[in-house]
Chain length 207, copies 2
């Protein structure tokens, strides 16, 4: 517990997040990270052995958080549609709240050295597996259509992740409105002929 301010380690990490997101991992020198954190370049090595260690800590911390939050959704809810709704909300909230951190995860995988890359990829695989479990369960219980759960999980993750690139807190839509749009799109698609639960009268003549 730190009653006030950040530890130096946290300040360095925050500076690294900001500079990696803005300029890219390779274009952000360690001395700039040190300067932004308010310490001498040489002192950074007391906290992190190298720039790679900063990248790994950022990626690992936020991938673990994302996994824990989805595991929580799976434990907390049983209904497949509610689980899907909560998973979409959770993914969009995490990615818009920790926008720079997830941008780094999404764009800097190739900057990871081999052993570390495998570790971060396994965290990503874990997340995909959790979402696929949710989809498979919903399919087996007849709530979701028969579909390729891998392909569906990739599509959901891609579209919900990308919200962070265009969402603006002061923009036209609130996070909650975006979440509502995405839930409907993912659950029901674009076609009006899919909108039976919302438009029973308009649909009746089709049967």
């Amino acid at each position: 517990m730190r009653p006030e301010g950040r530890s130096m380690r946290e300040s360095i990490l925050a500076a690294a997040v900001h500079l990696f997101a803005q300029y890219g991992y390779h274009a952000a020198p360690l001395r700039d990270i040190a300067r932004m954190a308010g310490i001498q370049a040489a002192s950074i090595y007391h906290h992190y052995p190298n720039k790679q260690a900063l990248l790994i800590e950022i990626m690992e911390t936020y991938m673990v958080r994302l996994n824990v939050s989805l595991e929580h959704v799976l434990k907390e809810y049983d209904d497949p549609l509610q689980r899907l709704h909560e998973a979409i909300a959770n993914h969009i909230r995490m990615h818009t709240t920790y926008k720079e951190e997830f941008f780094i995860i999404d764009t800097e995988m190739r900057a990871l050295e081999d052993g570390h890359k495998a570790q971060i990829i396994s965290l990503r695989d874990k997340y995909e597996a959790l979402l696929q479990e949710l989809l498979q369960d919903g399919m087996e219980r007849g709530v979701f259509r028969q579909c390729d759960v891998k392909v569906a999980s990739y599509a959901i993750i891609a579209m919900c992740t990308e919200v962070a690139t265009w969402f603006r807190p002061d923009g036209r839509l609130s996070v909650q409105q975006v979440i509502t749009s995405y839930r409907q799109f993912i659950a029901e698609g674009l076609l009006t002929t899919s909108g039976i639960t919302h438009m029973p009268d308009e649909r009746a003549h089709l049967l």
Copy 2:
């Protein structure tokens, strides 16, 4: 028409595509691009004034191609669902065929200098506007549900773009199978209660 081989300009561009995609724009030195293209580092300046010019040419060429191909879909077809189907197929095919080029477009925007960034962003805006026109028209003709066309266009672009990151030509699914999955997902969503056109018997008791 070049009956055999590539021009030196094309060889340099191909080397730049490969190295930018593999190591990132900032981590790919011009001398490595020259070496891969089979010329002296100094000679590269006869063809391109600097590394930035290579990045712009890659991004501009493929964004223009993407726009032209979507314009073609809009001119060629009239039915909103068929237009949507063709737009999805076109986007996925372009992104899986020119995988490295679009990966660079998606990850290196921040590496563009200001004037050039505006130029590439306007090409991206153009593409989004074309897709939004398709969606708006389908909504007005009652084929698509009332929805936020901007949000829907971002979702479709994100999920179809990301196919390139996981698709393998020698993998479990063909490009056509992926396209079919995405078409169904985008048009009808995940819920079985949306699947009326495919499962009239199963749905009848719900009405």
